[in-house]
Symmetry: C3
């Protein structure tokens, strides 16, 4: 972590300072916890009241606001925060270890320059690895898998055979990529395992969260598109195709053969059934159960998921069902009475 | 992968050919992606329109249909597909490695003939292993566990002590079998851990998905019945008994002491509370929350789960609650008006 | 397992015997499965009918009851059961191995007395470990992490850098603690990774289940409070603070920056969105989706979660929506008829 002046930070993110540009900034913190020497940020208008009380020396904001702190006005404050955190802290430093004697690297594997392979890592036959990749302890890479440049595999991540991985891909701890899809042919009461001959393709800049399970395809490949970020404990079914730049938050489940467009955002614990088409920029609220196609740009919520425009109100009315029941009953009584009085 | 004539495939699955029996089939693909030389399949009437446009040289079908492709008519097309994929591609080949010097096999362990134990595998004291088993790197087998013949343990799978595993069992990567059940006695605000003295039993032909968590029992054993297939990221609570030939799709959670019959099918993200009895051949739709017993052959859906016959319609009506509210209000107004006019 | 007389057990738990105090008790079992020589327990009035038929020689109960078995009356029967199971079976014995030659322990790591570090374990630079800790094979401990006394790390558990772990903490197999939080700044359609500079703190007596994913904080730390027990496959988001003595059952998901009080109980598959405040002793029913703050002592259920007092009835009425619809329609018809007759 390196101390910077507010001016240096503003220059770095292309922002404007309101206040003293020479303030020394030592660290980054949220509005509640910040103290003198910290820079904080305001990215959600809801938290604006916290601006007044903050002890931060400076705050990244989208527009001028009342506070004792100096302001760093940036067009996209959250992106400015990201740039500043990278500048001051950097990404995780992975200790250079070269290729450990305690790793098991197949003779037929091709490992590019400047790769680090830690203890207890297995690199199987015919694996091809680009440059600058890091393999933490306990990682397994199956035969014939191809890996690009600048990838990181965290401890105990497992990548099966014939997987294709682009550049700058991150696979978090304990994740599985390319295990057999859940594919069985049930015949006379027995479930016969179908060899899963499709691959998994992780395109450039993909991140796979801890303990994710990304199944290989039955016949067609499972694909995670460029720049998509998959949270922890997500299950992706065989042959699913996740488009580029999607955000799948932890515990999402996508069933087999579903296709998703670009820039979709799926909230936590969302489930999507198989063979669906999810349009570009679709948004699915947390815990929704998606059972039908979603159009481009559509927002849905609920289980079963419905368009958010009507769904938000509909699902909150469940709470009022006992009252609805009472009112229906009262109406029936009154009406019976009226009819009998005729 | 081996090229076959359509006749060879038909003979293999006991099917009938409509078209040229001498066509060479090189690979298997879905109707959309198939090209000349491929065999494809139609197992869901919904996709019949795709038959016309397919580029496949042959298609496995249940009955005659209009298409330019040759047809392989089979009684159970999906099972025929499975047989053909096995014939042409085979199951995953696991490289013969014998018992690696880099593995840690206890002296008291008994390992049957033709087992392969890869690097970084731990086989603990008094483990008994049958013949033809394969242990991928990073696998841990705890003390006193018994394993049958022809089992496969994928990388970083963990099996605790005193687990009993049958023949032809597959445990996928990063799965845990036999960790402590979630059992605590809360006394005066403190949660006291109850030693979990039950075992886990995985009967013959069970498959456990990646990152599953199969708890050992508190007092009674946790059992997964013969031929049942457990998807990725499934949690099975302590003392649960899953019957034979069940299908539990990814992210299902079964709470402790619940008993399930045979041939049940549970969709993705289903949750079942504890101490319930789920009948034979029960079906539970994805994301359902089961809080009551399910009868033999019953289908349920929703959270809370209700019989599918009424549930399907009921849950889709949630969307219409705002309209219901309006209609109730309109009725009340009209009725008030009528009453005031009396 | 050691045989005891009923008197010895009663003395151990401070209970009262009704029946023969000299009965030999050899093992512990549930009411259904117990046989002669077993002690069983009754902790839920619902199962009282099972008391009569049990073959157990003795039963732990809260108050006198009719049965052929001897009774051990204890104030808190489930806690008495816990004490008896510990007395008779003990907690899991972890084989003393010292520090294995096949482990990789950094020279800069400080390892306290009487620690066991199994094969294929990685202890990274500057790790500090107290006394009596046990590291099963395949465990990874990242640099600068601090661990207290009497902790157990089960096979293939992964703890990242700068994590702070108290005394008597248990991390189950394949769990991840301290991986990067799901934090990205989306700018012009690209998702830029924010270095996650917060730590994870696991306080004393915490247990983390198998395949859990406990994210490190973006700026503030993620904390699991003293004595809290986290079930399998739970996801905890960056910066979440779980209070002391909470119970989070398997497959729960807590989003980032949510704060939880003490003694909360969350059922299976519960999801909680981010930046919420969950009060002390809050209770959340299984599969609920929490989108608003919860008050101290409040019980909620459903998705969206509502107060349990009204929610229980409300959610069970979903099943009756088709009937409600019919009744509304009938009312409308009748009313139209009445109006037309005026």
């Amino acid at each position: 972590m390196q101390s910077k002046t507010l001016q240096q930070l503003a220059d770095h993110v292309g922002g404007k300072i309101i206040g003293d540009p020479d303030i020394a900034i030592n660290s980054v913190a949220g509005l509640d916890n910040a103290k003198a020497g910290d820079i904080s940020f305001l990215t959600n208008a809801k938290y604006e009241p916290k601006l007044k009380g903050t002890q931060a020396s400076a705050v990244i904001v989208a527009e001028e606001a009342k506070t004792d702190a100096a302001l760093l006005v940036a067009e996209d404050p959250y992106y400015a925060l990201q740039q500043i955190v990278v500048l001051m802290y950097g990404h995780r430093k992975n200790k250079p270890v070269g290729i450990s004697d305690k790793a098991a690297v197949a003779e037929t594997a091709i490992v590019g320059e400047n790769c680090n392979i830690c203890d207890f890592v297995t690199i199987s036959d015919n694996v091809q690895i680009g440059v600058n990749c890091y393999f933490y302890p306990g990682v397994f890479i199956g035969p014939d898998t191809k890996i690009g440049n600048d990838c990181i595999f965290y401890p105990n991540a497992v990548v099966f055979n014939d997987v294709v991985i682009g550049d700058r891909v991150i696979v978090q701890s304990n994740a599985s990529v390319g295990q057999d899809g859940y594919g069985f042919a049930t015949h006379k009461g027995f479930h016969h395992k179908i060899p899963q001959i499709g691959k998994v393709i992780l395109e450039d800049d993909v991140e796979i969260g801890s303990s994710c399970a990304i199944e290989r395809g039955t016949l067609e490949d499972t694909t995670i598109g460029k720049g998509s970020k998959i949270g922890d404990l997500v299950a992706i079914g065989h042959g699913a195709r996740i488009g580029p730049y999607c955000l799948l938050v932890p515990q999402v489940g996508i069933s087999g053969s579903t296709t998703m467009g670009h820039h979709c955002v799926l909230g936590g614990q969302v489930g999507v059934t198989g063979h669906l088409q999810i349009g570009n920029m679709a948004r699915v609220a947390a815990q929704s159960g998606v059972m039908t196609n979603i159009a481009d740009g559509q927002s849905v919520l609920g289980s079963p998921a419905v368009d958010a425009s009507k769904g938000r109100r509909a699902y909150t009315l469940i709470e009022h069902l006992p009252e609805f029941k009472k009112r229906i009953k009262a109406l029936e009584r009154k009406l019976d009475k009226l009819e009998s009085q005729k």
